[in-house]
């Protein structure tokens, strides 16, 4: 189905293109949301810009990876470009530091889902960008190591390292936020 949509979209069929984007827009937005956290507007802008770039460059997509992999790779590039803006980066870091302090003070062993969500968000936001990209593509988007390597333009070994380090760092941060009681909710 996607192959047909892609062929039609490449031929200029706007309905097919819209359907193709609609198939992937949640994935794109979730990924952008994490990479631009906590700025929801930025996530929307990055998602939109990624789809626009994909639209412009659709003719260069050779189908050697899945369209989804390619599209998420575009999101990475757009997000990286955006992050080069010093002002945004400083604002994000300041917001992140503030939230970590607040959450660490509030969290307890019986953290509610919402609190856990915030803790995960904060922990993820503190990872280096490269680890964020690889980890999200693996755990949330469900890409294989090979696909992540294509999307990020790095070796498979580098992908594995980033994912491994990202997991360990996130586990440590979350455990710290929960006062060392990280394991209490793993049995749920």
């Amino acid at each position: 189905m996607e192959r047909d949509l892609l062929a039609a979209a490449k031929a200029g069929d706007e309905a097919a293109l819209e359907a193709l984007f609609a198939l992937h827009q949640d994935d794109v937005y979730r990924f952008a949301r994490r990479l631009t956290w906590p700025d929801a507007d930025a996530a929307e802008d990055v998602s939109q810009e990624a789809m626009l770039v994909a639209l412009e460059k659709l003719g260069t997509f050779r189908g050697q990876s899945s369209f989804r992999t390619w599209l998420l790779g575009v999101v990475v590039n757009i997000s990286r470009n955006r992050q080069r803006s010093e002002r945004r980066r400083h604002a994000r870091e300041a917001a992140s530091a503030h939230d970590v302090d607040g959450i660490a003070g509030q969290a307890d062993a019986s953290a509610e889902t919402e609190e856990l969500g915030q803790i995960i968000e904060v922990a993820f936001s503190r990872l280096p960008a490269g680890q964020q990209e690889a980890l999200h593509l693996r755990e949330i988007s469900g890409l294989t190591y090979d696909e992540i390597a294509v999307a990020l333009g790095i070796s498979i070994n580098a992908v594995k390292n980033r994912i491994h380090n990202g997991r360990r760092t996130m586990q440590g941060l979350i455990s710290e936020s929960l006062g060392g009681s990280y394991g209490v909710w793993t049995d749920e």
Binding site: V28, M51, R167
Partner: protein
């Protein structure tokens, strides 16, 4: 006591499952894909306008240079071109680009009727 990687992996899988469940609650803004196409059309239109504007300016410059006698300034108050009224824009409904007289009509000719869907 140090913990084995197996325990870490189990904990991580539990965490990842919770994380995935939380992410599932996040979805793209409605009509994002529709809006992308609308923005793409608007950008294409702006590009065409810019190209047409450059083209019109270049054509206008060439026309001026060709028609202007050496040493004569068409901006001068007593110059015939300055005294003659220009054609009204609406009076130039060109049907081909070559028949467009004014720059405005050339741009109108090159600009497709389009719509822009604002962000919701």
């Amino acid at each position: 006591m140090s913990r084995g990687s197996g325990a870490d992996d189990t904990e991580w899988e539990a965490l990842a499952a919770r994380w995935r469940a939380l992410e599932e609650e996040t979805s793209a803004p409605p009509k994002l894909s529709t809006r992308v196409l609308a923005v793409a059309r608007a950008r294409r239109r702006r590009r065409r306008l810019a190209i047409a504007g450059s083209l019109a300016a270049a054509l206008g410059l060439v026309a001026t240079l060709v028609s202007m006698p050496y040493g004569q300034d068409p901006q001068a108050p007593d110059h015939p071109q300055a005294l003659a009224p220009g054609p009204p824009v609406d009076a130039d409904p060109c049907r081909e680009i070559d028949s467009c007289v004014t720059a405005e009509s050339r741009l109108a000719y090159l600009t497709p009727v389009d719509e822009y869907v604002p962000r919701q």
